[in-house]
C-alpha cells in the first residue's frame, strides 16, 4: 500500500460518495443559492475523476464555510478570510492533491482580499469558488463588499456610500488565469464551469452568484441570466485580456442594473502554474514533499554535513 493511495485512483465515482452520513441535509435556508454550489461540486468531481480522499476542500467562515460539512472530502474549515493561504500551502506540500477553496464574498473580497490578490497573482493550480450573495448572511444581513451602493442594513443605515467591489476585474488584474461567473439558478452552466475550473491548470476563480432568500430579499434572484459565451449580443474573445476586461466591466456594472451576465470571462491556458514556475527555478522538488516523510530509503540531510564548514 502506498502512502497516499487515494491519489490517482482510477475508478468509477458515485456522486453519493460526497454526501456525508452524519449530516446529509445542509442547514442552509430553503431557496438558498449555496445548495447549487454543493450540487455542482458533487457533479463535477466525479466527472473530473477526483475521489473524496484525494480532494482537499478549504473553506472560510460564513454560510458558505459550512460547505465542507456537507461535502464529504478531506476538509479544512479555516478562519474568516484565510482559506486561500491554507489551501495553497497544501497544494505546494502535495501537488497531487485536488485543492479547492471556497468562501463568501465578505470572506474572499473583504477580509481575505489581500490573500485573494496574491493567490491569483501566483497562479496556484487550484479552484476558488466565491459564494457571492452580496450580503453577510450568517451574521444576519449586514452590507458586504459586493452589496450595491446605497444598500441599507443595520450597519449601513443610511445606505452604503461605497461602490461595490468588482470581483472579476480584480481577479483578472491580480493574475488569475481562469475567471468565470455563474449563478445558482443556472445549474447546468454551474456544473460545466466548476468542472472546467477544476481541470484548469492554474488559479481558477469562479464568482458564484448565490441568492440569499433570507437576508437579501430585495436582491434579484439572478434571473433571467445571460450566458455571454452563448449570446449573440455579446462578442468578445475570452483569451484576450483587453476584451475580457471590457466584458467584465460591463458585467459588473449591469449586475446592479438588473442584468445578470454569466459565463467564462477570461481563460489563459498557457500561463504556467505557480508550482511549475517554482520547479523551473529549482525552488520546489519534483516529487511531492509530503511523500518524502514516508520514504524509508530517504537519507535525511544534516546541517552538520552540509552547512557548517563556512562557520569554521
Amino acid at each position: 500500500m502506498s502512502t497516499f493511495s487515494a491519489i490517482g485512483e482510477e475508478r468509477e465515482i458515485d456522486r453519493d460518495e460526497y454526501t456525508p452520513g452524519v449530516e446529509p441535509q445542509p442547514t442552509w435556508c430553503p431557496g438558498c443559492g449555496d445548495f447549487s454550489v454543493l450540487k455542482a461540486l458533487k457533479q463535477a468531481l466525479p466527472e473530473v475523476g477526483r475521489t473524496p480522499e484525494e480532494t482537499l476542500l478549504c473553506t472560510g467562515i460564513g454560510c458558505s464555510g459550512k460547505l465542507n460539512s456537507y461535502l464529504d472530502t478531506y476538509g479544512f474549515h479555516t478562519i474568516h478570510g484565510r482559506s486561500l493561504p491554507v489551501a495553497r500551502a497544501a497544494k505546494l506540500a502535495n501537488p497531487d492533491l485536488e485543492v479547492i477553496a471556497a468562501g463568501g464574498d465578505g470572506d474572499g473580497y473583504g477580509i481575505g482580499g489581500n490573500h485573494f490578490i496574491h493567490t491569483a497573482r501566483e497562479n496556484h493550480d487550484m479552484t476558488y469558488i466565491v459564494f457571492n450573495n452580496e450580503i453577510f448572511g450568517l451574521t444576519k444581513g449586514q452590507t458586504s463588499p459586493t452589496s450595491p451602493k446605497g444598500h441599507k442594513s443595520k450597519t449601513q443605515p443610511h445606505g452604503s456610500a461605497k461602490e461595490p467591489v468588482k470581483p472579476l476585474s480584480m481577479s483578472l488584474n491580480a493574475g488569475a488565469s481562469y475567471v468565470a461567473r455563474t449563478a445558482a439558478v443556472n445549474p447546468n452552466q454551474a456544473k460545466e464551469i466548476i468542472t472546467e475550473a477544476i481541470e484548469h491548470d492554474g488559479f481558477a476563480h469562479v464568482d458564484f452568484l448565490t441568492q440569499c432568500p433570507t437576508w437579501n430579499k430585495d436582491a434579484r434572484q439572478y434571473v433571467p441570466y445571460i450566458d455571454v459565451n452563448d449570446s449573440d449580443d455579446y462578442e468578445f474573445d475570452k483569451t484576450d485580456r483587453v476584451e475580457a476586461q471590457e466584458m467584465m466591466r460591463e458585467t459588473e456594472e449591469s449586475l446592479y442594473e438588473g442584468e445578470v451576465l454569466t459565463g467564462r470571462f477570461y481563460v489563459d491556458e498557457d500561463r504556467p502554474s505557480y508550482g511549475e514556475e517554482k520547479r523551473a527555478i529549482g525552488e520546489m522538488p519534483e516529487e511531492p514533499l509530503a511523500e518524502r516523510y514516508w520514504d524509508d530509503e530517504y537519507e535525511w540531510e544534516r546541517s552538520h554535513d552540509m552547512f557548517l564548514d563556512k562557520h569554521a
Binding site: V22, F76, T78, R82, N94, W294
Partner: protein, 631 residues
C-alpha cells in the same frame, strides 16, 4: 572587568561594512584558539547612523558581552547625513569616535581614521585621553585605502593597524580574506592590510602592546555562529522543509538562512503577502504532511494570532519563531527587548494551548529549535520559539561536535493507511481524528490523500470526526484532552533539562532570568561569588508549560530572588508569580529597557544595590529596580 581579554569595538555608519569586518575579525580570533562573543548595536537605517560591533575574546569561556571595552577602531561614517550639532541626530560625522568614548576602559586603545574624523571637534578629547590613560592612534586609514585600492577598504587598514598594536599575527586574518573575497578585491585588500600593519609598527615602534590579544587553544573544531543560524540548523535537522514568511527585523535572519538552504534540500520557502498568510501557509503545509515553520517579530507575530489559534484548535503541528525587539508598535526595530513574552503566551482568543520555549544561548537555540519541532509534531500543538535581537544576532564560538546528531524527520503520531484501517471510523467512513480518550491527549492523525483518513479540520469546536459540535459533554471532553497534552509535555520537558543553573547550590540568594540574558547573568553570578556574595542563578527556558516545580524549588532554597529581564513591566516576574501562586514578598526585579542588553556589571551592581545594600539604587546604570511585594 578582567584583564586577560580583548574587547574590540569597530564603529562607523550603517553600510560601512562593520558587520562583515567584525565577523571576520571574530573568526580570526576564534581560529587563533580563543573563545569569542560579539555584540552589535545598529540603528534602523540603511545608511549612516551610529553603529558598532564589539568582539570579546578570551582564553576562558565568554557567554556575554563585557563591561565596556578596551580597544576602539573608529572608522568614519561615510554616510553621515547631518553635520550640524542642532540636527535631530546631532553631528553624525564625528559619532564613530565621540559616541564610543564613555564606555572605553581606562588604559584602552583608540585607533581613529583621521582621514574622516577630526578629534578636535570633541570637547576635551585630549584631556579625557590623558585622564583615562588611553593610547590614541590617529591614522589616515582612508588615505591609505584610497592610495592602494578603494576608500571602502579602510576597514582592512583598520584591522591591519589593530593587529600591529595588539601584537596579533596577520595569518588568520589573511586566510579569512582569501576565503571570503573575490580575486579582484583580494589583492589590494591584502596589500592594504600588510601596509597598515607595517606602517604602524614602524611609526610607533611597538614592542609591548598597550592592549594585547590573549592566547588560547581549542581542542576541537569551533564554529562561529549566531542564534539565528542555530535555530535554522535545528529546524533543518528536525526535518523542517517548509518555511513561509514576510520580512521583519530581526526575524528576517532565520527566514533568510532557511530560504537560502531549503532549495538545496528539496524544501520550499515562500515569501508571502503578510504574516497572517505566512502562519496560515505553515499550517496548511503541515496539514498536508510536511514539517513546517513560520515566524516573525512582535508586530508581524500579532498578525499570526489567528492562524496560531487555528493550529491550536485543529491540533496542527507547527513551529513559529518570534524574534523580539523593543516595542510597543514599531518600537525600536534593531534593539533587543524581551517584552513580547506575554504577547506570545496569551495572544489569540480562548485559553492558550501552545508551547513556548525561550533558549538562552546559541547552543540552546539549536537544541530548543529541534525540541520545538519534536514537541509540535509529537503532541500536535503549535510551538513557539521565543528569542530576541540579541540572541539572534550575536555570534559566538560553538564546538562543531555540538551539531553532530542524527536527523529526526518523524511526523509524530501520524498513521499509515494500514494503521488507519484499524482506527475508529463513522458508518460513512469518516476517520475519528479527534478521539476523546487517548494517551497523553494525542489523537493520531491522517494526511490528505490517504485512503480511509478523511476528516474535517475546523476552527470550530468539533466532535471526534471533526464535525462542528457544541454539546457540553463533547466540549468538556475535547478541551480536557487538549489540555492534557500540556501536562504530558511538561513531564516530557522535565527529562529535557532545558534550564541552566550557575553558582553554588547552597547559595544564600538567587537570580532568575529567561532567554538571552542567561549568559550575562551567569557571568555576573561568577563575579558576585568571587566577591564573596553567595548567589546562584537559574535561566528558565520553558515559558509554557512552565516548570513550576523547579522554579519553586529554586525560590524555596534561597532567602531572596532578583528577577532579571529586559522588560519595563516585569513580565517574567509576573509569570513566575502567576505559576507559583506565592513568594511575592521574595521576588524583586531588575529591569532594563533602554534598547541595550544588560552588561554583567549592571547585574552585579544592581544585585548588590537591591539585595545586599537594600536600597535598590545602582548608580550610573540605566536599570530599574522594582522591590518585592510589601517592601
Amino acid at each position: 572587568m578582567t584583564d586577560d581579554e580583548l574587547i574590540w569595538r569597530i564603529s562607523g555608519g550603517s553600510g560601512d561594512g562593520i558587520a562583515s569586518t567584525s565577523q571576520n575579525f571574530a573568526k580570526a580570533l576564534m581560529r587563533s584558539g580563543l573563545n569569542v562573543f560579539t555584540h552589535r548595536h545598529y540603528p534602523s537605517r540603511i545608511r549612516g547612523g551610529h553603529t558598532y560591533t564589539e568582539v570579546r575574546a578570551s582564553a576562558g569561556p565568554v557567554e556575554s558581552r563585557g563591561d565596556g571595552y578596551n580597544f576602539l577602531l573608529a572608522l568614519g561614517d561615510s554616510f553621515a547625513r547631518n553635520p550640524q550639532e542642532e540636527a535631530v541626530y546631532g553631528n553624525e560625522e564625528i559619532k564613530p569616535l565621540s559616541e564610543n568614548l564613555d564606555e572605553l576602559r581606562e588604559g584602552g586603545v583608540i585607533i581613529y581614521d583621521e582621514g574622516l574624523l577630526d578629534a578636535s571637534e570633541i570637547p576635551n578629547f585630549e584631556e579625557r585621553a590623558e585622564e583615562n590613560d588611553w593610547h590614541v592612534y590617529p591614522l589616515d586609514l582612508r588615505g591609505l585605502a584610497r592610495d592602494m585600492g578603494r576608500e571602502v577598504m579602510r576597514n582592512t587598514a583598520g584591522v591591519g593597524a589593530t593587529c600591529a598594536i595588539t601584537g596579533m599575527e596577520l595569518g588568520h586574518v589573511e586566510d579569512l580574506m582569501r576565503d571570503a573575497m573575490p580575486e579582484k578585491i583580494l589583492e589590494p585588500n591584502l596589500e592594504i592590510l600588510e601596509t597598515a600593519y607595517n606602517q604602524v609598527q614602524e611609526e610607533y615602534d611597538i614592542d609591548a602592546p598597550d592592549v594585547s590579544v590573549p592566547t588560547g587553544e581549542h581542542d576541537e573544531t569551533q564554529l562561529l555562529m549566531s542564534g539565528s543560524d542555530a535555530i535554522s540548523y535545528g529546524a533543518i535537522d528536525e526535518g523542517c522543509r517548509f518555511i513561509s514568511g514576510y520580512p521583519m527585523t530581526p526575524w528576517t535572519e532565520v527566514f533568510t538562512i532557511m530560504t537560502k538552504n531549503l532549495p538545496k534540500l528539496g524544501g520550499i520557502s515562500e515569501q508571502v503577502e503578510d504574516e497572517i498568510a505566512a502562519a496560515a501557509l505553515a499550517v496548511g503545509a503541515s496539514h498536508a504532511g510536511v514539517k513546517a515553520m513560520s515566524g516573525s517579530s512582535g508586530g508581524g507575530f500579532a498578525l499570526m494570532s489567528e492562524p496560531l489559534g487555528l493550529a491550536e484548535m485543529t491540533e496542527t503541528p507547527v513551529v513559529l519563531v518570534e524574534a523580539m525587539r523593543a516595542g510597543p508598535s514599531t518600537g525600536m526595530p534593531t534593539k533587543p527587548e524581551q517584552s513580547d513574552l506575554e504577547h506570545v503566551l496569551y495572544t489569540s482568543q480562548g485559553d492558550s494551548q501552545r508551547v513556548v520555549l525561550a533558549p538562552g544561548t546559541v547552543e540552546e537555540a539549536y537544541e530548543q529549535s529541534r525540541l520545538a519541532f519534536r514537541l509540535a509534531y509529537e503532541y500536535q500543538i503549535p510551538t513557539i520559539l521565543l528569542y530576541d535581537q540579541k540572541l539572534g544576532g550575536e555570534l559566538k564560538n560553538v564546538p562543531k561536535s555540538h551539531f553532530d546528531r542524527d536527523p529526526n524527520p518523524d511526523l509524530g503520531k501520524t498513521l499509515s493507511e494500514d494503521a488507519l484501517a484499524d482506527e475508529p471510523h463513522s458508518g460513512d467512513g469518516k476517520f475519528h481524528r479527534f478521539q476523546h480518550d487517548v494517551e497523553d491527549g494525542v489523537s493520531p492523525r491522517s494526511i490528505p490523500g490517504q485512503k480511509g483518513g478523511r476528516f474535517l479540520a475546523t476552527g470550530n469546536e468539533h466532535d471526534p470526526t471533526g464535525h462542528i459540535a457544541e454539546s457540553p459533554d463533547n466540549r468538556v471532553a475535547q478541551i480536557d484532552r487538549r489540555t492534557e497534552k500540556l501536562e504530558a509535555i511538561r513531564a516530557d520537558l522535565d527529562g529535557e533539562d532545558t534550564g541552566s543553573y550557575a553558582g553554588p547550590e547552597d547559595a544564600e540568594y538567587g537570580i532568575l532570568t529567561f532567554g538571552s540574558q542567561q549568559g550575562t547573568v551567569e557571568e555576573a553570578v561568577g563575579r558576585l561569588n568571587d566577591a564573596g556574595i553567595s548567589v546562584k542563578s537559574y535561566g528558565v527556558s520553558d515559558m509554557l508549560p512552565f516548570p513550576t516545580e523547579q522554579v519553586e524549588a529554586f525560590v524555596e532554597s534561597v532567602d531572596e530572588v532578583l528577577v532579571v529581564e529586559m522588560t519595563a513591566s516585569g513580565q517574567f516576574r509576573g509569570l513566575v508569580q502567576k505559576n507559583l501562586g506565592r513568594y511575592g514578598e521574595k521576588l524583586s526585579s531588575l529591569l532594563k529597557y533602554n534598547g541595550n542588553p544588560f552588561e554583567p556589571a549592571e547585574v552585579v551592581d544592581g544585585f548588590e544595590a537591591a539585595i545586599i545594600e537594600g536600597d535598590g539604587d545602582a548608580s550610573g546604570h540605566q536599570t530599574t529596580f522594582v522591590p518585592a511585594a510589601g517592601d
